[in-house]
Subunit: 404 residues, 2 copies
């Protein structure tokens, strides 16, 4: 598999873009030389790169494409809204309808607001917690991704010590460390932010222990801090009504994004009535945030997710894929380790601390038409049928044979 | 003119959204009770609210709709890209084409990056300036809007002292104050950020004096600080190639957004080769930032802006409107004051420090089908013909008669 067009265009890109491609889709974060650098089109659970290779896609745009590329119902809803206009002087009624839908869907939610990106609202939620409590400190999980804003970015450039003066990290599932931070900063903790399960880059996913979720709920309540659930990546993939119901979190604020509108740019934060007045005091806006098309897409996507019980379908499809993949590992003498829920699995080669063998595994998969990421959890698409999974496993069978 | 549907829906909204409507489109920031709260559809330079009133629109969604709602060429370009997909695992070639177009168009630009909102990139530009200089301080204009992020938001909720520990304000056009800040923070200033002209809310617009632009250029150069031009609101409205050419700024970084893609969600930051490596070290990403449709819209919009010399058209149309409006003020004995460039005018009642009479003026205009904002600069649309302006002036003639 050659990526001549990708590499040629990347050379053009480096002339006019810092790093050529920035952010999470930069080749440097994947397997430089062994992956496409530019996409051309998507359809269902597959997409094509600019060299003409087609892939069965286990990343879905790093999450948004929960129903598959160009889902007819979602696209029709978005297009109907788009014909009316985009950035108005006022919002359209879809703003209210979407807030009402989330409030009806999510048990603890009394209100909702919307942004364009997950990080728009993880950052806003942190500010709401500070406004509610009049305290500065935020506790977060070491290695968790909550966006590219200064308080949480995984990057290193352009930061000041002040950006993180009140951000304190602790390891996921570590109740003792969480208790110690609450004790150390008694009366100063505005909020605890975490993802429903821990899905760090370059490491296995970790599901929360019941003791950990109970401790998060209890310590936030005891200390008067807000529990902020960053459900950007998991939301509506693990359950139809927010991932907190899967693991038993009792959040005060939750942020949704990637699966909310099947690729249309929108994010949401929901919260409780007790914090609504404070939330209204934290200024929130953007030039295109009232655009009705992504709101129409979200309304359609949320309906489909409930109507077709998409989380149950993703779990079943994901389990079929993991079972088949692990069996192929045994067949080919390449021991594999799976982590994360089946709807968002991550599979790596065992005893591979550098992830070099996992990179080779994913490079071979990509070369055989199955797009896997060596350092990031994957995303099962509802557009995947059993036949798609079986085709992917057949390709992986051939791919693994090349690695022996 | 009654707004029964707007008011009924706003009551529904307050049940599920903090404040009912948040951000710059909140009724509280306009003329509560005298303006529509929800829009239904737009077409050219007009839009309709949910009570069925049609307005000739002098706000254009607070800027984005430079060519008018649902411009056929821009929509066709966006739709063609959208059919290919949205959030991919990689960018599409449109990323490179759009960066190349901006680099070719803007004289000092050697590279470009893209976000969704203006504030995404004003904040990033501040970080780039800090990364380039290894200094913390940012100088900005008192009352200037650069987005809703903590370092610059006009809001008050959820902020910490640390958020603005290194942000220092000074009045627009005040060379002495700027010199004093550079002297006071010698060796510590990373950048100066400002808009091409000063367009504060609740006040007249101010054009820069030649002495001021010269001082901005000279002091940034002498002190090794970056000149960051926030061209979010003005960009491509005052000239086809960035507003710095209009006033003589020599920016190091410039941010564009509102007029870039006629309402499709995208923003851009361009910069110089000398800062490209540093820029690549400031992490920048978002879930939907590679979406090809807004990039296709931006390519089409930039082409149309150049092909049809839209800035020249906006200036001519805006001048016709201002001249007519000021004449109506004289006719009706309501002295008016106009400020800002004709493409982005702001007209208020003279001797009206509370802006109460200006609110009454705008309320009357709205009641007669002309949408004006009492506290924010307006935006002339390229979709406005002389006949539209004359129709607006006829409506304003009737509106002003009601105010005597």
């Amino acid at each position: 598999m050659n990526f001549d067009q990708s590499h040629a265009l990347f050379r053009r890109a480096t002339a006019v873009i810092p790093g050529g491609i920035y952010g999470h889709t930069t080749p440097a974060a994947t397997i430089p030389g062994a992956v496409p650098y530019f996409a051309s089109e998507g359809f269902g659970c597959r997409y094509r790169d600019i060299d003409g290779h087609a892939f069965i896609d286990f990343m879905g745009g790093y999450g948004p494409m929960i129903l598959g590329y160009h889902h007819p119902e979602v696209e029709a809803a978005a297009e109907a809204a788009r014909r009316l206009g985009a950035a108005f002087n006022q919002p359209t009624p879809l703003l209210v309808e979407l807030a009402e839908k989330l409030v009806a869907r999510i048990d603890f939610a009394d209100w909702a607001v919307f942004g364009k990106n997950g990080g728009d609202l993880t950052t806003w939620a942190v500010q709401v917690a500070r406004e509610v409590t009049a305290r500065p400190k935020i506790l977060k999980i070491t290695g968790a991704y909550h966006g590219a804003d200064a308080w949480c970015t995984p990057g290193h450039g352009g930061l000041l010590p002040e950006d993180r003066a009140h951000i304190h990290d602790f390891p996921f599932n570590n109740v003792t460390a969480l208790e110690a931070l609450f004790a150390q900063h008694r009366g100063q903790v505005a909020g605890l932010i975490l993802t429903p399960f821990h899905h760090p880059a370059y490491a296995d996913s970790q599901l929360p222990t019941p003791e950990f979720t109970a401790a998060c709920n209890r310590l936030c309540r005891e200390h008067g801090a807000l529990l902020i659930l960053d459900d950007v990546r998991c939301g509506f993939r693990l359950s139809t009504d927010g991932s907190h119901t899967v693991y038993g979190y009792k959040p005060d604020l939750a942020i949704y994004c990637k699966a909310l509108a099947n690729g249309h740019p929108i994010s949401a934060c929901v919260g409780r009535a007790a914090h609504k007045a404070a939330a209204s005091r934290v200024f929130l806006t953007g030039s295109y945030w009232n655009d009705p098309a992504p709101m129409a897409a979200a309304l359609a996507c949320l309906d489909i997710i409930a109507r077709d019980d998409i989380p149950q379908k993703l779990a079943r499809t994901g389990q079929r894929f993991i079972d088949g993949f692990l069996a192929l590992g045994i067949k080919h003498g390449i021991p594999l380790v799976a982590s994360g829920p089946p709807a968002m699995p991550y599979v790596r080669v065992a005893d591979d601390p550098s992830l070099l063998r996992t990179q080779n595994l994913c490079a071979a998969a990509i070369a055989h038409g199955v797009f896997l990421h060596p350092h990031h959890n994957w995303f099962i698409s509802a557009a995947m049928t059993d036949a798609d999974i079986d085709e992917a496993l057949l390709k992986l069978d051939t791919a693994l044979a090349t690695l022996r």
